[in-house]
Point group: C2
Chain length 199, copies 2
DNA sequence: TTGGAGTAGTTAACACCGTTAACCAAATAT
DNA sequence: ATATTTGGTTAACGGTGTTAACTACTCCAA
C-alpha cells in the first residue's frame, strides 16, 4: 500500500491533517503543496487528481478501521462476546482516531460518488465480520435475527450516529458524554441480546 | 418562508434539481444562473452567498420532512402507534422525495459546518416529537427506555442508514428492496417494543 | 568518459470558480 | 417632474484543478 516515497506520504499526512482542521471545502491542491514546500503540480506525480488523493485517504482510513476491529474481535471466540467487541471497537476507533474516522464520512457526498464501487465493497471487511458473527450466532441458536445483512447495516448506521454526534460536539448539554456512549452501545447491543434464546 | 418572488423560487428549484442530478461539487453559481437565464450576480440579490443558498435549501427540506411526519403522526393518539407512524413516515418521505431528502444529508460536511446551530435545533421538530413520544410511552409505562433523547437520536441515525442505502442503490443484489425496508423498520420498532411491559 | 534515458521536480497557461464593485434602466413615490 | 427604490447588468479580483512543456539530476551502457 505505502509506495515507499517520502513526499507521497507527506502529502497524505498534510492532506489528512488539513482536512480535519479546515474541512473539505477549503482543502486545495495548492495549499497542500505550499505546506509541503513543493509546487502544486508535484502532487500529480503521485496522485492522478484530487479525487484520487481523497480516495487514497479514505481507503487508508477504512483499512485502519478494519484492522483495528479485526485485531480486537477476531481473537474472541464466543459469538456474543465478539458481537459486543466489534461494536465497542468501532466506537473506540472513532473516538481515538477522529482524524481518520471523520475522513471516511466527511469526504463522502461529492468525492464518494466517484469512489469505485468495487473498492467500496472490498474495504468493508469489518462489516463482513459483523455479518458473519451474527450469522454464526443465529446458526448456533443464540440470536434470533431474520436478515443478518440488514441488521449489520443498521447497526453500522446507528453506531455512526453515536460516534458522529460526539465528534461534532452536537451532544445536548444536558447529556454526559461518557454516559451517552455507554448507553448507546448498550441500546444497540441489548436490542439484539433481548432476542437471545435462554438456554 | 417563500418571499413571494418568482426568480428566487426558480433559483431554488434549479439548485435543488442540479444538486440532485450532479451532486454538490459540480454545482456552481454560474451554472445555476445560466440555467435561469440570468447573470451570475443576480443570485446575490436573493441569497447572501452560496452557503446561504444551500442553507435555504436544507431548511426548506427539513421543514417539509417535519411537516410530513407531523401531519401523519400527530393525529395518532396511541403512543406506540404514533411511535411506529413517525418511523414509517420518515422512511416514506425519504423514498418519496429523494430530491429533498438527500439535500438534508448530501450537503452536510462542508456547508453544514457553517450552518447556524440555532437553526439546526429549531428545525428538528420531528426529532422532538419522537423524543416526546418515547417519553410519554415511558411515563405511561408501555416502554422501558432509559434515555429517550439518546434513543431517539439512535433511531434517527439508523433510519437514515436504511433510507440512504436504498437511495444510493448500494443495496446488495441478493436483497429485495421492499423487504429490506420492511425488515429494517421492523428491526427498529421491535428493538423497542420488546421492552414493552405486558399489561 | 560520454551520452542517452529515466526521475523528480519546475513554470506558464487554461478554463472555471465565488464574490465584489460599479453601473444602469425601468418602475414607483413624492 | 424629480428622486428613490428595484432588479438587474458588466468587469474585475483572487483563487481553483489540471495540462503541457520544460529543466535539472541521477544512473547506466558503449
Amino acid at each position: 500500500m505505502s509506495e515507499e516515497n517520502p513526499l507521497r506520504d507527506q502529502i497524505l499526512d498534510i492532506s489528512r491533517h488539513m482536512l480535519f482542521e479546515d474541512g473539505y471545502q477549503s482543502l486545495s491542491m495548492r495549499k497542500i503543496a505550499k505546506k509541503a514546500d513543493v509546487s502544486a503540480t508535484s502532487i500529480y506525480l503521485y496522485f492522478e487528481n484530487k479525487d484520487h488523493l481523497l480516495h487514497t485517504l479514505i481507503e487508508e482510513s477504512v483499512e485502519d478501521l478494519s484492522r483495528f476491529i479485526e485485531s480486537n474481535a477476531l481473537p474472541v471466540t464466543d459469538n456474543i462476546e465478539r458481537f459486543k467487541k466489534i461494536i465497542q471497537s468501532y466506537v473506540d476507533f472513532g473516538l481515538q482516531h477522529p482524524e481518520k474516522y471523520e475522513i471516511i464520512y466527511k469526504v463522502r457526498p461529492e468525492a464518494m460518488a466517484r469512489y469505485p464501487k468495487e473498492k467500496f465493497r472490498k474495504t468493508r471487511r469489518a462489516y463482513e465480520l459483523l455479518v458473519k458473527t451474527i450469522e454464526e450466532s443465529v446458526s448456533a441458536g443464540v440470536m434470533d435475527v431474520e436478515k443478518p445483512v440488514v441488521a449489520a447495516y443498521s447497526i453500522w448506521a446507528q453506531l455512526h450516529g453515536v460516534v458522529s454526534v460526539v465528534l461534532n460536539k452536537r451532544l445536548d448539554s444536558r447529556i454526559d458524554q461518557k454516559q451517552f456512549i455507554e448507553d448507546s452501545i448498550d441500546l444497540v447491543v441489548q436490542g439484539f441480546l433481548v432476542r437471545t434464546t435462554v438456554s
